[in-house]
């Protein structure tokens, strides 16, 4: 976990740096999510369309798996932004409603928000859209547990 301590640059958590580091490795790196923006309790990431992430070859629609991975990452970063520092955590559960199919070729934006933070649990929600936030493709809700909390 030493690499991740660098996410806490100075006194505050740096989501752009964290997103870049997390995206350079493993499954996040393989799907290729990238940092877009953040606020006090939210982080926005982008996932560019790629043929190998397709779930339905006939329609070219993205699989739901990469969208889950994108939202897991965006909501994780949102908890650290809200807390102001990185803390190791585990996803307890994640629910995703597929509101409509993503349009093939379009970049998917994942907006993750941490709307409630306790010492041990982070409650998160978010939407994914492919251009218009008012017409989302998916809605997510989930919880994380801080694994180092006493």
């Amino acid at each position: 976990m030493t690499q991740r301590s660098h996410f806490n640059s100075g006194l505050t958590f740096d989501p752009a740096l964290a997103a870049k580091t997390v995206s350079s490795f493993g499954h996040n790196g393989a799907i290729g999510a990238r940092y877009i923006a953040h606020g006090e309790d939210w982080v926005e990431l982008a996932l560019d369309y790629r043929a190998e992430l397709v779930g339905d070859e006939e329609t070219g629609v993205l699989a739901s798996g990469p969208i889950i991975a994108l939202m897991d990452m965006a909501t994780s970063l949102a908890t650290w932004v809200r807390r102001g520092r990185f803390e190791p955590q585990a996803t307890l559960d994640l629910r995703i409603d597929y509101l409509r199919a993503a349009v093939p070729e379009r970049t998917v934006i994942g907006h993750g928000e941490c709307y409630r933070l306790t010492r041990r649990i982070a409650f998160v929600r978010g939407i994914a859209h492919d251009g218009d936030p008012e017409d989302p493709i998916a809605h997510v809700a989930g919880t994380f547990m801080m694994t180092d909390a006493a």
Partner: protein
């Protein structure tokens, strides 16, 4: 049992293979860098992807023989129970109810011991069957 389900490109991306078993298709995802989350652990998103592919694949196997049928996910809820380690992950699914319009499917994932689940998913899907007019 039904025919072996055809995997989508995303299934191949995750390195998933499928084999026929007595109780339906068994899905296997080998550990590798592209499914790694934090170092030495399986990524939750990749695990959720495996569970979804198992759920959809098992439902399609149950629907085999129905011409022109397609399914569309409505939602999925994934519970993560244990951290996935650096080894093969298996998944199998059960169609709890197959209605005319909606199917409810449960998928389970484990590693070395089938009784020690690492994650589960409940999935609701729309089943689209061509109407007689469309079959025309």
């Amino acid at each position: 049992m039904g025919a072996r389900p055809k995997l989508p490109p995303y299934g191949h991306f995750l390195g998933i293979s499928v084999e026929d078993c007595e109780n339906g298709p068994l899905f296997r995802m080998p550990f590798g860098i592209s499914v790694t989350g934090r170092p030495h652990f399986l990524h939750g998103g990749a695990l959720a992807g495996l569970l979804e592919i198992a759920a959809v694949g098992t439902l399609m196997a149950a629907l085999q023989g129905e011409a022109g049928v397609s399914v569309k996910p409505v939602n999925v809820t994934v519970d993560f129970m244990r951290g996935g380690r650096e080894r093969d992950t298996f998944a199998a699914a059960t169609v709890l109810r197959l209605g005319t319009r909606i199917a409810n499917v449960e998928a389970l994932a484990w590693q070395e011991d089938r009784d020690k689940l690492i994650a589960s998913a409940r999935m609701t899907l729309m089943v689209r069957r061509p109407t007689r007019n469309e079959e025309g």
